[in-house]
């Protein structure tokens, strides 16, 4: 029996802030103090509040220590673990209020963790911990008590929809595949889309890193439902921790007889392999993903045929996203009514969002569908830092759109987001404040999709390039008002004509910013100004008469564009200025302004 349990976050954010060294230091300190028998150290998956990582939680007190460094470990050991006294200076402070337990924080209070339930709770490298938290109970229930059709009906009744972006009813997808006539080999496949590629989104990664067995169990359930005996997890090679934990998990599941031939002696075979993607965004598109698993260049193919009929290696295939799978076992165990009781009319359950951008609590949050954007940003996310004003939230990654302040109170679900010109997508949520130029934001996302286009179809390969060129023209001050109409036309053309979802949604960031922030476009075109002060070609820095002639700006200018004698007002040579803004940052007298 351990006196204390120490959870150390091993998620990506904390890991890159040396949480592995913190873990090692704990091991060393505990051994040195002779309390090895009393303390259980657990390296967990992501807790979600990445902004304050590395995170350490010590039970039974549930003390929530944030921004812990390796040098803090001896104090945590001697004070908390030996003397039983909290180390106040490391305890997380929620809006200046010292909050001792994780569950008390604003960040966690409004969350409902279903897909993320085990992340930050269990050791993902130990199957016994997963089993201790009801792991593989759903699989056993399915194999012993349910017919495949009952499994599908349960998933249908729960209202679970694909978390990868499009929101297709998962149960329906399974039913299509179950009903699909396989070829003479009788082979069907189950695949998992772990090719998370939206900039800023990392929920799938966190699930794979923090609760890999949840995905394995759900895939086995899906395989049983559709009649498959082989599965593939397609995961980005850029997720090494996820890949290694998934490998460990698959190995342990095989060892326990939960994967492989004749699972648990119940006559069901299911094996699982990992396929690594090499980072092409388009490989998150289902047909491109399967083409890539087949060993070919990852490019989408026309549909129909749909994967449910002809998917991987032209066999009937079910492909779901990681987060979708992470809900499955609980729906089986707690019943579809439980899941359907959360959310809105058409969007049931919860959704994980990756909060990023101009927000205090960057990290991973899981909320019931129907929660408002305001709750997510202001309560859970802690609002905008530095007293700045909220301007827009970008959801759905490069395929999504920007939601302006007037829609902050719209309940988040698939339909509502679509109605206001964005999409749920995989759940990236990037917050923008008054310092963000919306034309520049549109450019950023479009540049991403343009670069990630596979180059197969004309609208995406050339259309996005031309669209981006319009944006470049506008942000460099050469835009004309007629460009806006041409851009809009081109946007709708691309949406209507591109081969796959990547191209069809690529214009969304442009269309949604044109819809809500057209005045910013017009300011760029007519006034030749960037209201947010981002687009360099439309900026100028000027030195006011209040300049004291301290020469600091001139000494820091990287291109020697500033001249002036000591104690005289200085001057910027606009033809040399590269608009880096260093002068303004350095000026101690606020004598330099950006116009």
């Amino acid at each position: 029996m351990y006196r204390n349990t120490v959870l150390i976050c091993g998620g990506t954010g904390c890991h890159s802030n040396h949480s592995a060294e913190i873990y090692d230091k704990f091991v060393e300190e505990i051994a040195a103090k002779g309390i090895k028998e009393d303390v259980l150290l657990v390296k967990t998956g992501c807790f979600g509040l990445c902004a304050v990582g590395p995170v350490v939680i010590i039970y039974p007190e549930g003390a929530f220590y944030s921004t812990v460094s390796v040098s803090d470990v001896p104090e945590l050991v001697s004070e908390h673990l030996i003397k039983g006294r909290l180390v106040e200076r490391l305890i997380y402070k929620d809006k200046e209020v010292v909050t001792k337990a994780l569950s008390e924080t604003n960040f966690y209070k409004s969350q409902t963790r279903v897909a993320l339930r085990n992340c930050g709770v269990i050791n993902p490298e130990d199957i016994d911990e997963y089993i201790a938290y009801d792991g593989y109970q759903a699989l056993i229930k399915v194999l012993t008590e349910m017919t495949p059709e009952e499994v599908i009906q349960t998933i249908l009744d729960s209202g679970l929809r694909g978390r990868g972006g499009a929101g297709f009813p998962t149960g329906l997808k399974w039913r299509f595949c179950r009903n699909a006539q396989p070829d003479e080999t009788g082979i069907k496949y189950v695949c998992c889309n772990a090719d998370e590629g939206d900039p800023g989104a990392f929920m799938d990664r966190s699930i794979l890193e923090g609760d890999p067995h949840a995905v394995i169990e759900a895939m086995a359930i899906a395989a049983y439902a559709i009649g498959a005996s082989q599965g593939y997890i397609y995961v980005r090679a850029e997720y090494p921790i996820a890949v290694s934990r998934m490998r460990i998990a698959i190995g342990q599941a095989k060892e326990y007889g939960l994967l492989g031939k004749n699972i648990l002696g119940l006559g069901f075979d299911f094996d699982l392999d990992i396929r690594l993607g090499s980072g092409a965004f388009v490989c998150g598109e289902e047909t491109a993903l399967m083409t890539s698993i087949e060993g070919k260049r990852g490019e989408p193919r026309p549909r129909p045929p749909f994967p449910a009929n002809k998917g991987l290696f032209a066999k009937p295939t079910v492909l779901n996203n990681v987060e979708t799978y992470a809900n499955v076992a609980q729906i089986i165990l707690k019943g579809p009514e439980w899941f359907a009781s959360m959310g809105t009319e058409k969007s049931k359950g919860t959704k994980v969002f990756a909060l990023g951008g101009k927000i205090v609590n960057t990290g991973l949050v899981e909320i019931p569908m129907g929660t408002t954007l305001r709750t997510v940003i202001e309560d859970i996310g802690g609002g905008i830092p530095n007293g700045k004003k909220f301007k827009a939230a970008q959801t759905g990654g490069p395929s999504g759109g920007c939601i302006p302040a007037q829609h902050m109170d719209v309940p988040i679900d698939f339909e509502n987001l679509a109605a206001i010109g964005s999409i749920m997508g995989s759940g990236g949520l990037i917050v923008m404040d008054e310092d963000n130029c919306m034309v520049d934001i549109a450019k950023f996302f479009l540049l991403f999709t343009k670069d990630e286009s596979c180059g197969k179809c004309t609208p995406c390969r050339i259309g996005t390039t031309r669209l981006l060129e319009y944006l470049d023209k506008i942000t460099s001050g050469k835009g004309e008002l007629s460009d806006l109409d041409e851009m809009e036309k081109l946007c709708y053309y691309i949406k209507d004509n591109a081969l796959c979802g990547l191209g069809q949604t690529a214009p969304n960031p442009v269309l949604s910013t044109l819809r809500y922030f057209r005045d910013e476009y017009i300011a760029h075109i007519v006034d030749k100004k960037c209201p947010a002060g981002v687009c360099k070609a439309l900026l100028s820095y000027e030195i006011l008469d209040t300049c004291k002639g301290c020469t600091l700006c001139a000494r820091n200018c990287p291109v020697n564009a500033i001249s002036g004698a000591v104690k005289q007002v200085h001057k910027i040579d606009q033809s040399k200025c590269i608009k880096c803004g260093v002068c303004m940052d350095k000026c101690k007298f606020k004598a330099i302004v950006r116009k």
């Binding site: 026309p302 286009s453 180059g455 197969k456 050339i462 996005t464 390039t465 081109l490 053309y493």
Partner: protein, 582 residues
């Protein structure tokens, strides 16, 4: 027989009934509606990439590519709404925005599908400005030039290489706007196991691929009065050439072709069909020797230079199976520069032999090792059917008005067995005609071997000759050849003699033949139409067996001795080398 399920739909309000699985494109064609296409090629390239063939389907979220979208019951399709027309126009305008529009000096000027589409759709070629990709032109091989500045990424060449030839030498490299077609790791075409068949050229809708032209060399040779310039045409050239001058597919224009060449000023206008007859003598004798003396079997024909290169790269272990005979082109050049030069008393160095071929790989073959019977290359210049047409135009000859001419003697005299070489199965049929007579020791009435005719990829037949069953096979298209080679390698084939032609359908469909648009390729059986002209000419001929060609007899009697003699070997046979793949 299984009943074919019919599907009823409406296209532009018109009721259409087509078998289930039909695409919207084909259903529309049946209803008399031509939907424009660009990337689509029946059987080999249904990828929905270019988006030119989009149509509106009621209830669909976006426009759909009709070339890949199957019909369904009750579907309502509109092929000509303003939305569709605008979309197609924008697509082509976008393609034009990243295309080297130097049309006036393009090899495909006036024979370009993009040009035609642009005109049909009323495109503004300058609507979109912006960045344009620039690529180095790959002219590293003697046969194919790739100019990616003109490539529109329809991937038809990629599909031809992969699906016709089973090679996949080229694919798409890079991504997004930088996407381009190239060999693995963007290697030069000369550094990869490309066989030079030119099928990629034939399917290219624009000027991104063309043969390395030798037209200027021909003109220069004709100007040089110190040279004795011979021109000779391969069997298929007379069948394809007319298409360049408005004749329907499958027209035999031998007479006008001969006159045109004569009017250009060649010293002699000969026929490679003569050398095809000679090939039958040599190859037939080689086969009999192998059959009777326990030689390596099955024997594989060696007429098709892309096929030879294919074996050298991919099946070097099967090189002993290849006939050691030079191809008809090379035999022709070799006889010109030995026998005929001696006869005329001309130094072979002062002779220029121009071959006209339906083939691009011949440009490679003429430069191979051990192809110089007289110490100088057997063939100096190898041009394609297309290049001959250009020459005719450049010389201002009004082709359609030319008189019918006849090839010069002696090397223009041939049997129509030689002509058969142009169609898949033709070499085999010509060989069987001679083998049967030779082995039976008498002239047989049986002339036509229909089992080896037809455009299917692989044909097999057992022919009883002099009491012995000879098992033969014929394949065209290297993807089909591969099937046979793998069988041989695995020891599962008991054929005696196999004819392989690299190009699907044989030389009539060679990489140097007139280029047909995708619309023609998709809706006509070009291979069969052209082959039909060959069989028609043969059926009317008096001289249908190679060994009956009087000039062949004279050549052996007065010069070579007998087939496979030491001298014949020196002049008419060659050797092969294993080549690396990458």
């Amino acid at each position: 027989m299984e009943e074919i399920k019919m599907v009823n739909l409406k296209i532009n309000g018109q009721d259409v009934s087509v078998p289930a699985g039909t695409t919207i494109l084909d259903a529309a064609r049946k209803a008399g509606i031509k939907i424009p296409t660009l990337c689509y090629l029946r059987d080999i390239n249904a990828i929905g990439a270019c988006r030119v063939c989009v149509v509106e389907v009621k209830g669909a979220r976006s426009l759909v590519a009709s070339c890949v979208y199957p019909v369904s019951e009750g579907m309502e399709v509109t092929t000509n709404s303003q939305k569709v027309i605008e979309a197609r126009k924008t697509t082509v305008e976008l393609i034009l925005s990243d295309h080297d529009k130097n049309c006036l000096s393009c090899v495909r000027n006036q024979n370009c599908e993009l040009q035609r589409l642009s005109e049909e759709l009323g495109c503004d070629a300058k609507r979109f400005g912006g960045a344009v990709n620039t690529f180095d032109i790959d002219a590293t091989t003697p046969y194919i030039v790739r100019d990616n500045n003109k490539c529109i990424l329809c991937r038809r060449c990629v599909a031809a290489c992969k699906n016709y030839q089973g090679l996949a030498i080229i694919g798409t490299n890079s991504r997004g706007f930088a996407t381009h077609v190239g060999a693995a790791f963007d290697k030069d075409l000369a550094d990869v196991p490309c066989v030079g068949c030119g099928q990629c050229i034939n399917v290219c809708p624009v000027g991104a691929l063309h043969e390395k032209e030798e037209i200027d060399d021909v003109i220069a040779a004709l100007q040089d009065k110190s040279k004795y310039v011979i021109i000779a045409t391969a069997p298929s050239v007379r069948i394809g050439l007319g298409e360049e001058f408005g004749y329907p597919i499958g027209s035999n224009v031998e007479g006008k072709m001969v006159t045109a060449m004569r009017k250009m000023g060649f010293n002699a206008v000969f026929d490679v069909d003569f050398a095809a007859d000679l090939t039958i003598m040599e190859e037939g004798t080689e086969f009999i020797n192998r059959l009777n003396n326990g030689g390596t079997l099955p024997m594989l024909t060696s007429c098709s230079p892309a096929w030879i290169k294919y074996v050298e790269h991919n099946y070097p272990d099967l090189i002993p199976n290849l006939s050691s005979c030079k191809s008809p082109q090379q035999m022709f050049g070799a006889i010109c520069k030995t026998y005929y030069a001696e006869k005329l008393g001309i130094d072979p160095k002062d002779m220029v032999v121009v071959s006209v071929m339906p083939c691009t790989a011949k440009k490679f073959e003429k430069g191979r090792a051990n192809q110089s019977a007289a110490g100088v290359p057997d063939i100096d210049i190898a041009i394609t059917t297309r290049e001959l047409a250009k020459l005719i135009r450049r010389f201002g000859l009004i082709f359609n008005e030319l008189e019918e001419g006849k090839f010069d003697a002696p090397l223009g005299i041939s049997s129509t067995a030689g002509l058969l070489f142009g169609a898949t199965g033709g070499v085999m049929e010509a060989a069987l005609r001679t083998l049967a007579d030779v082995l039976e020791g008498k002239e047989l009435d049986k002339i036509e071997y229909t089992a080896v005719r037809g455009t299917q990829g692989i044909k097999e037949a057992v022919v009883n000759i002099a009491g012995k069953d000879v098992k033969v096979a014929v394949a065209s298209g290297l993807a089909n050849a591969k099937v046979l080679m793998d069988k041989i390698r695995a020891g599962e084939a008991d054929y005696h003699f196999i004819e392989i032609m690299s190009c699907p359908g044989g030389c009539v469909n060679g990489g140097g033949q007139p280029i047909k648009s995708a619309y023609e390729r998709n809706n006509l059986d070009i291979k069969a139409l052209r082959a039909g002209a060959i069989y028609a000419a043969d059926s009317k001929s008096e001289l249908r067996k190679s060994h009956k060609n009087p000039i062949i007899k004279e050549l052996y009697d007065n010069y070579l001795g007998e087939p496979n003699s030491h001298k014949a070997h020196k002049i008419l046979h060659t050797s092969y080398e294993a080549r690396k793949k990458y």
